[in-house]
Subunit: 195 residues, 2 copies
């Protein structure tokens, strides 16, 4: 039984994260107390502090882990092939990854204002690292004459914003399958960056 | 002096709206009390209820007025000319209108979840009316063979999402002028909808 305490924490950690994520997404970070999170998990408020020093750290870890998961998943996909194929994979990856994480996406946008300056800077660095992956694809395509883009930095932000828009309207079982959605967006992205 | 009370309300109304808008944008609707709004305006909490029956009505009015202003401003701009010119005007209009109202834009996205079902439905109707303006332009261009779009409904949402992205990064006095930003986005939008 020596490891019971440790095992208990291993299980409680993810449950705390899940509860915090859901509550922050529904009510907003500022409106949620550590007490409410504890109640949702079914533990005493004090037990939360074994897992996290405070609510800010909880928010920061949710946002950081989301961005690190995104970067790791994208890195696993990269293969350095033809820029047009790589861009197409990026489009499909970005849509599918984010559709699976609506609460994380909502919080990543909405709660930036509630991060401390240091935490904000770290999340911004991760966001930029992801944007740089796409900008690298656009620059590579530009170099070999496949793409014709007047400003690859702005095109990067425009493509990501366009793809993020899918999260606001797509519902599984709706008019379009995910494959169709991916095809329609790829078609628009491809044309937007091609002369 | 008979109109003092009325004049006072005329002045207080906009100040309540401005205070509520700023506080909702900074802290989130759920975290802001009527008492805080009253304090920001410099009146007693009770005085707020001369202007608005409750916090929900205040939020709803902010969102409704924002959408009605948007629709009115766009209607004033429409002239039924060539679909490509009309689309170009839409792009410039959308970017400039929203850049002038960052708090309204943030709240319009973030606080939808805090509207009552009836209020949500009304805001959604206004949002769809605006989207329908753009979809109309795309359909007109499609009809006369200027545009080649596989799904004009999705293209509408994609263009609006792309343009909304400007709000997340544009700062006056930065690397690009607003005219340059408009040109870059127009270039991408035009290509995205053209064969």
């Amino acid at each position: 039984m020596a490891r019971t305490q440790g095992s208990h924490s291993d299980i409680t950690g993810p449950r705390i994260r899940e509860a915090a994520l859901g509550l922050f997404a529904r009510h907003g970070y500022a409106a949620v107390s550590m007490r409410q999170i504890a109640k949702e998990v079914g533990v005493q408020a004090g037990a939360l502090y074994n897992y996290t020093p405070d609510k800010q750290s909880l928010l920061f870890r949710l946002m950081r882990d989301h961005m690190q998961d995104l970067l790791a998943a994208y890195k696993a996909l990269e293969d350095g092939g033809d820029p047009q194929d790589t861009l197409r994979r990026f489009v499909g990856f970005h849509i599918r990854f984010h559709l699976q994480r609506p609460d994380e996406v909502f919080i990543a946008y909405m709660e930036l204002r509630n991060l401390t300056p240091d935490n904000f800077a770290e999340i911004e660095d991760l966001r930029r690292a992801y944007e740089n992956s796409l900008e690298g694809i656009l620059n590579n395509g530009q170099k070999v004459g496949l793409f014709s883009i007047s400003d690859t930095k702005i095109a990067t932000l425009a493509v990501i914003a366009m793809l993020n828009g899918v999260m606001t309207w797509y519902r599984a079982g709706g008019r379009l399958s995910l494959d169709e959605v991916e095809q329609i967006y790829w078609d628009m992205v491809r044309r937007a960056v091609t002369a």
